[in-house]
Amino acid sequence: MREVAVIGVGQTEVGEHWGVSLRHLALEAVQAAMADAGVVRADALYVGNMLSGELEGQEHLGALVADFAGLRGVEAFKIEAACGSGAAAVRMGYVAVAGGLADLVIVVGVEKMTDTLGPDTTAALAMAADADYEAAHGASFVTLNALVMRRYMHQYGYGHQDFAPFAVNAHQNALANPYAMFRFPVSSEKFRRARMISDPINLLDSSPICDGAAAVVLAPLGETRHQSMATVGIAASAVGTDTLAVHDRNDPLVLAGAELSSQRAYNAAGVRPADIDLFELHDAFTIMAALSLEAAGFADRGRGLALAADGEIGIEGRIPVTTMGGLKARGHPVGATGVYQIVEVVQQLRGLAGENQVPNARVGMAQNIGGSGATVITHILERI
């Protein structure tokens, strides 16, 4: 296997882009990443996306985006793993380059979620769950997370307000990220008073419905160097899976797929949680942030919230998370999110994260979760 580097990154601002189509969002991110890498061609293009068929009536994104990005003729596919589609596409790009089947791969994650009405988007997102035994009973994706959150609060004795630090931290970090959707602070008090969506999950526990695209260019490490930036290598790319349905898990409060994925990534990279300088975790809901910290080994079971309460998740903390705003405040265009996370880790490792720069960041981890924990893709990146 060859070692793989991320030689270029690009992203669009996350938001409600009513004036921009899915293909143009993808194009903007691809062009930015290619310009950053200084390349004008590629061997393959992988597109991470979850909902284009359901919300845009458009599948077959591989060839579509390749054509509109000026790459007509290259190998191209769409890769889908619900909200984990973006990192799944990065994973396939990694596999192609590491295996020697391609020397230059572009991965773009893109999602367009604001063309449809709320109930339709909500129903589409529920496709990440078990259609026959969860969604058929009226459980939205928010509801499934709410079921886990209420049980977590019951079992470990937490109140809703204990989850506030995740939202407060994410919004604080989004302030200085020009690509973030919500560049305003959120207070603990505002968190308490937010509108209920599916109790106990309220609006500020939740990541927003939005549009966006992010892209990376992958190449063999050492063969292609960025002109001016520090080189960032992929030290590990790992996947773990679990049951699609929450009710099928031995313990619904444990992200077993995330435990597997994290452990495989640590083993591949030869690092431990203590070696990770920043963690872009999958805070689709505050409860997922807590469970992710536990599954990745940063906190014992039931203690993920305590880590946040102690201020350890801030830029200067022991394990900074969602350093550019996370899913909560940068935004969660579902199939693009996993690629945004990689782009942000690269920004940090290059030392170009501006006001949000984690001091001396050398090793960063990104973890993208499909569904309520069924597909978990972990990447560990390292400044060479």
Partner: protein, 136 residues
């Protein structure tokens, strides 16, 4: 997606809560899944569950997905069946009763979706507060 054959295939589960017992390791399985999640054999026998259980967790839905607007707000629960498995279902017949984790519930058959002007009306299991047997 809300097609007749799709719902018809699930009739044993929707109306009678038919799951499986693994004859190899004894685990009770719902929803049925053919390959045992514990011992990975395929020696399951169909069995109808009692429909009794208790609330493991619950959430009230204020922003329903398309197709469930008529029921909102409604409460979805994870119910721990007395045979062991968890099941996702709506709670019903709650009146003013407050839902609590641990409360006893029992399965009833209710309308799950109306299907609009042309679609099928879907029936299936929901759970209501257990009706205590009268003292002898």
């Amino acid at each position: 997606m809300n097609s007749v054959p799709r719902n018809w295939r699930l009739r044993q589960q929707r109306y009678r809560l038919v799951g499986e017992i693994c004859e190899s390791c004894g685990v009770r399985i719902f929803p049925p899944r053919d390959v045992c999640p514990e011992c990975e054999t395929m020696e399951q026998k169909e069995v109808a569950f009692s429909g009794r259980g208790e609330v493991y967790s619950y959430s009230t839905v204020y922003h329903p997905p398309r197709g469930f607007e008529e029921f909102a707000p409604y409460t979805v629960a994870l119910v721990r069946l007395e045979e062991g498995p968890l099941v996702t279902a709506q709670l019903t017949d709650l009146d003013s009763e407050q839902v609590k984790i641990g409360m006893s519930v029992e399965m009833v058959t209710r309308r799950m979706q109306s299907g609009g002007e042309e679609g099928p009306i879907v029936y299936g299991y929901k759970f209501r507060p257990a009706i205590q047997p009268a003292a002898a």
